[in-house]
């Protein structure tokens, strides 16, 4: 972003102002996440930087909140983590299956009312969660599925499917449908064509949609608040309760773990997206 040497001073000033603003906005975006790391290693029970921490005194830091997270009895983080992973796992599988099939169907030229179906499929992403939560609660209560894992998983499938539809549709935008016809003309049946030809090509979209569905389910609190029974506590529910009642450093330890997890997922998703763009020959300059 070097400026040409002939730039007039007041444009130069504007340019530096612009760069300053950008730096400030990036700082605003990313800095809040990094507050959590040091405070989760605080040896005191306060959520402020103590004098010892400012002096980098080793005694001011400890891993006691991580130990409390794993062994502590006050908040059943272990049970919550187990539930969260189980729910997110099945919800992801369901979302990926439904979303991929829907996206494939919508990519067909013969599909009627494409726009309307697409709008309905994506609406769970747009509709305020509180409304989905209330509606799903009424429905599940009638169906006898409130306060069960099955109910929560079904609800999360609804919420996760739009992401898969969007990512797979994006991958299919450069998809050449003549390859499936070529496979058919060479004697392949539709299932075989899908497994051998279509799926490998759209796989990056499927996986990144799956990651979105996983994160959505793993982070979802509103619907679970309405549906959860006592034993189906999840990590977001525990955090929600903790944040409402008392903000303890144990929550920050959990939050740190979640940030690490989301970083891993982000890196995976970015690598997949680049690979997909390379495969489909889309170049970003």
């Amino acid at each position: 972003m070097a400026l040409p040497r002939y730039t007039e001073p007041h444009y130069r000033a504007w340019h530096y102002l612009y760069l300053t603003i950008c730096t400030a906005v990036f700082f605003f975006l990313i800095a809040p996440l990094f507050v959590i790391f040091p405070l989760s290693f605080n040896s005191e029970e306060f959520l402020v930087f103590t004098d010892g921490m400012m002096r980098l005194d080793p005694d001011a830091f400890s891993t006691r909140w991580y130990k409390d997270m794993v062994y502590g009895t006050k908040n059943p983080w272990g049970l919550a983590a187990r539930n969260s992973f189980i729910i997110a796992f099945f919800a992801t599988i369901g979302s990926v299956l439904l979303g991929t099939v829907a996206a494939l169907g919508l990519s067909s030229r013969h599909m009627p009312y494409k726009g309307l179906i697409m709008a309905i499929l994506i609406s769970p992403m747009i509709i305020p969660l509180i409304i989905s939560g209330v509606a799903i609660f009424f429905f599940m209560a009638k169906a006898g599925l409130a306060a069960t894992h099955t109910g929560i998983i079904l609800a999360h499938i609804i919420l996760g499917t739009p992401f898969v539809v969007i990512t797979v549709t994006a991958t299919l935008s450069g998809f050449d449908h003549s390859v499936t016809r070529a496979a058919a003309s060479l004697g392949s049946n539709p299932v075989n064509t899908f497994m051998k030809i279509t799926l490998p090509l759209i796989l990056p979209g499927v996986i990144s949609g799956g990651l979105f569905a996983f994160v959505t389910s793993f982070d979802e609190v509103v619907v679970v608040l309405f549906l959860a029974g006592l034993e189906s506590t999840t990590i977001p529910i525990q955090m929600w309760t903790g944040l409402r009642e008392q903000l303890s450093p144990t929550i920050l330890a959990v939050a740190t773990c979640l940030i690490v997890l989301s970083t891993l997922i982000l890196v995976t998703a970015e690598l997949l997206r680049r690979r997909s763009e390379r495969l489909r020959g889309i170049k970003r300059h």
Binding site: L47, M118, F163, E270
Partner: protein, 276 residues
């Protein structure tokens, strides 16, 4: 009974009695601080009891301002991301995407730590002498907290559509504008800005639509003056158990959201939502 002899038939009265309370629009009127008086006219409730109208207005106000703040912050950084060489912009893009992928509760928790009275933001204000140490302002559990946290949380949803539009604008257009005698400002305003309007529309509609139904962040950092209509719905679901009123308010909110969604679909196209 003199009007028609059928009114003498008791069954009609029973039918009316049976049907009357099953469906009513009264909960909707209550949601707008109105009610039906004895004569069946729709009137406003007393001025000091109009809480819902205030809440609707506040929800729209918060959503609107969060959208404006997001736009003002996202525009420069989306421009920077779109014009920097790939090597650097990929790195900076991580700064946009990491919050996007991080748990909402984690981000809200970090704002609770930052904005508390002994928190870092207040420490900083005291340090630069903006406020006295014993007069630290309350920045959480009010509207300020809601604004700050929601802006940061929804910012990526504004950056991504803006970025994807700006990426398609050829830099030679700005050079052409300059070579034809326009100052950088006029060429920006007359050439670049109009080309980014589709991205602005997409980003603003998306952020507004998400902000208007926000629940978690206002519930945690909003306090009494920063809660939105979603929080009222949750309150009636969980505390007063007036489920029909909660549903009525939910449907009113849903109608509004659906209207914006319809506009979004018309203007942007729903399959153009950007997820990084």
């Amino acid at each position: 009974m003199s009007v028609h002899k059928r009114w003498a038939n008791v069954e009609y009265w029973q039918a009316i009695k049976r049907r009357a309370p099953a469906y009513t629009g009264q909960k909707y009127l209550k949601g707008l601080d109105m009610y039906k008086n004895d004569k069946g006219e729709i009137v406003n409730v007393a001025e000091d009891r109009r809480i819902h109208r205030k809440l609707w207005l506040r929800t729209i106000e918060v959503a609107l301002f969060v959208t404006i703040f997001c736009f003002l912050m996202a525009y420069p950084i989306a421009h920077l991301l779109a014009t920097l060489p790939m090597k650097y912009s990929n790195l900076l893009m991580i700064c946009v995407l990491l919050p996007f992928w991080t748990s909402l509760l984690v981000r809200t928790a970090s704002w609770m730590i930052l904005l508390q009275q002994q928190g870092i933001v207040n420490d900083f204000f005291v340090f630069i002498g903006l406020v006295a140490n014993d007069a630290r302002p309350q920045m959480m559990y009010n509207k300020t907290g809601t604004y700050v946290a929601m802006t940061q949380i929804l910012l990526p949803f504004m950056v991504l559509p803006l970025y994807s539009v700006m990426k398609t604008i050829s830099p030679s257009l700005m050079r052409a504008g300059k070579s034809l005698g326009g100052t950088p400002f006029t060429s920006f305003w007359k050439i670049y800005f109009p080309l980014t309007i589709p991205g602005i529309g997409a980003g603003c509609l998306l952020v507004f639509i998400l902000a208007i139904g926000y629940y978690i962040t206002p519930a945690l950092v909003g306090g009494a003056s920063g809660t939105l209509i979603s929080n009222q719905i949750a309150f009636h679901m969980k505390a007063t158990l007036d489920w029909s009123f909660a549903s009525a308010m939910g449907l009113m909110l849903l109608t509004g959201v659906m209207a914006i969604y319809w506009v979004y679909n018309k203007i942007v196209g729903i399959d153009n939502i950007k997820l990084g």
